[in-house]
Amino acid sequence: MGAAPTIQLGPTEETQHVTEHATRDLLRLATAGSVDDGKSTLIGRLLYDTKSVLADQLSAVEAATLARGGGEVDLALLTDGLRAEREQGITIDVAYRYFSTATRAFVLADTPGHVQYTRNMVTGASTAELAIVLVDARKGVLEQTRRHATITALLRVPHVVLAVNKMDLVDFDEATFRAIADEFTGYALSLGIPDVTAVPLSALAGDNVVDRSTRTPWYDGPTLLEHLESVPVGRDALSEPFRFPVQVVIRPRTAEHPDYRGYAGRVASGVVSVGDEVTVLPSGKRSTVVGIDTFDGPLTEAHAPQSVTLRLADDVDVARGDVLVPTAATVDIGSDLEGTVCWLAEKRSVLGARLLVRVGTRTVRALLREVNARLDVDTLTVEAWDGVDTLHAVDATDTSSDIPPRALTLNAIGRVKIRLAEPIVLDEYSTHRRTGGFLLVDPADGTTLAAGMIGATLLDRLAPTSTAQDDDDWFAGAGI
């Protein structure tokens, strides 16, 4: 395995076997980690070593490498496709790339490590089922590594891989790998990330990415690709209770279907069957599912994430924004939302600001009542304060540094209380990844201000004043 990629092109074996793909599933994954730790190079390497790079893409990357002074082919250029990214040698926005093996198709989101572009990392990680957190073996775990790990934990990305990269620069030293793996695993555990798979690799040279390295005889775990092919996918959405946010009401009013009325949407989580009793929230009206329709014919059962159209027995009032849930279940609804937010906008949070909250298919008017805690990702300590902080209800345009505002600025993670104009389903994100997320949107220009998660599990557990930490073992051993 040499450092310089040898030219090896053409189809992967599997692409010739059309039939195999019929049972293939889909894994979405995202990279994370500090700037220059090798995320884009790793994605390039994965694509290259699975022979997913085509001749014209490779020659374009070779030409671009040459134009930048030559040297080895820079595989990061396979994803760093914007002019500004190539000029600066960094990733600015998420790039999505695709490849597949015989058993699985992959959607790769390569995210930027630069702190300024954290919101783009949040974008890539929000839909991921697996995050690869990269660490440069020479530098170890950095603040930005911790920030990304925290975001990964907040977003509850189900699987986390630690890729200790640039092992070629530390002579493939086992002790270096172990030390980083231990430090990161400990940190991850305190964030509630239960198990981390750590792989020593070199994205540049290809060690343990697709092909097993001969330079890490002390490592007997899987290569990165072996691991990516083996993690279970799509389980979390199925194990959560049934939720069906209504997207549109289908009313053809055609000669063929004069009275048809169906509720189109995607099963966000769980399973629904014909005959199930359902409740429409927030109205609380009840009915029974009498049909699950698709263009290809009716179904008796639908599961996440299928897009279907449901018909109900009764002529109840159902509109876009409503959520169908199982009647037997207890579901929280309310107009007071407590949540954790990751602030994504340049304008800071302003107490009393009128906002829009987008949750599921519903958008409601809202008021930001409190920002009452902030998380320091470096130390994992929570700075909490009580109630409404009128003193620091600052103006978003005020950037003077002498007021220490208890506000959230770009990339900050904090706990908020929001008053809603109408009740919504309050699914805790910690147990409902598919329905517990929300956006804060500026009604003036439509800017997405923050990514929110209903509930504040992580912050509550980390806060020293919290009483909630006793009941959860994940955090008991973390020494926080």
Binding site: L9, G10, P11, T15, Q16, V18, A22, R24, D25, L26, L54, A55, D56, Q57, A67, L78, T79, G81, L82, A84, R86, I92, D93, V94, A95, R97, Y98, S100, A105, V107, V122, T123, S126, T127, G234, L238, Q247, V248, I250, P252, T254, E256, H257, A264, G265, R266, F295, H303, P305, Q306, S307, T309, L344, V359, G360, R434, L439, P443, G446, T448
Partner: protein, 300 residues
């Protein structure tokens, strides 16, 4: 608990349908860009599925360069009639006649499509515009959001893209702005073909192997036509070809191919060493950032 996992194609289809229904729920006047190419045909197929048994609740728009393959126009008109759709044509020729754009020296009208496209969006007050763009097509497209905000000049600013969280697509925009929506973002060329096979979707005949008079220019087999080819030094010859993409005749090349059925095309695409745009699009070869530059100006 159920243990079913959706197959990759089912997952992609479901995601595309979800995106289309979000647009129908959030926007006043959506439109679907329909070129008669395979991606827009798959998009239309998803739209029919998304709203069934109701008809597709939006119009189609074709940006017509005037350099069309006759088979594609015939297909377009037949599909529009068959499904009772409304078709808006934004014509490059009209834009040239009005002096809004000027014919280029090289005869290619591909870059000229941006102006009639944006004018068509403005004139019809379209607020959401479905495009068949896929992230795997090109490196600037790989950076595109599913919902992509365009300012009142139709411009894309890759450094100021909104974060896009979960499946909560934020389509809010100011008057005069619009949102480009890409339901096939996560599909690859092979996914599109496998889906066409699975769903037995009819395509214009030029996607399959046929005999055609072509001539070689810049390493690509171009078909003769009123657009200005061949030149005196270029010679016509009959080749067995098919098209991998469908665009303006002046810059869409044919590939030599004997693949005349969907499975044969899938085998060919799977074995190809070139990306579809690399193999067939002169416009992307212009410079390293050709697509990014066109997208910034408001191109598809």
């Amino acid at each position: 608990m159920s243990t079913v996992t959706l197959t990759q194609l089912d997952a992609l289809e479901s995601e595309g349908i979800h995106v289309m229904r979000e647009v129908a729920g959030e926007f006043e006047r959506p439109v679907l860009l329909f070129s008669g190419g395979k991606d827009s045909i798959v998009m239309l197929h998803l739209a029919r599925k998304a709203f069934w048994p109701a008809p597709v609740p939006f119009a189609l728009m074709h940006v017509d360069t005037g350099h069309n393959f006759p088979e594609v126009i015939e297909y377009r008109d037949r599909v529009v009639a068959e499904h009772g759709l409304r078709l808006v044509v934004a014509s490059v020729q009209d834009a040239i006649d009005d002096g809004r754009v000027a014919e280029r020296a090289d005869g290619s009208r591909n870059p000229l499509q941006t102006v009639p496209l944006l004018d068509g969006i403005t004139a019809n007050k379209f607020d959401a515009v479905f495009g068949g763009g896929r992230r795997d097509e090109e490196k600037a497209r790989a950076k595109e959001r599913v919902f992509s905000l365009r300012d009142e000049f139709g411009q894309w600013d890759p450094r100021r893209q909104r974060p896009e969280l979960w499946d909560l697509y934020n389509g809010r925009h100011k008057p005069g702005e619009h949102v480009r929506v890409f339901p096939l973002s996560n599909w690859t060329e092979l996914d599109v073909w496998r889906y066409i096979e699975r769903e037995q979707i009819e395509l214009p005949a030029i996607y399959y192997s046929h005999q055609r008079e072509v001539f070689l220019r810049d390493g690509m087999w171009l078909a003769p036509g009123g657009w200005g080819g061949p030149r005196a030094n270029e010679t016509l010859e009959v080749r067995t070809v098919r098209y991998r993409t469908v665009g303006d005749m002046s810059c869409t090349g044919a590939v030599e191919s004997t693949a005349s059925t969907i499975p044969e095309v899938i085998t060919e695409v799977g074995a190809s060493r070139l990306t579809e745009r690399g193999a067939t699009r002169a416009d992307d070869r212009a410079s390293e950032a050709a697509m990014e530059d066109r997208k910034r100006e408001g191109y598809f």
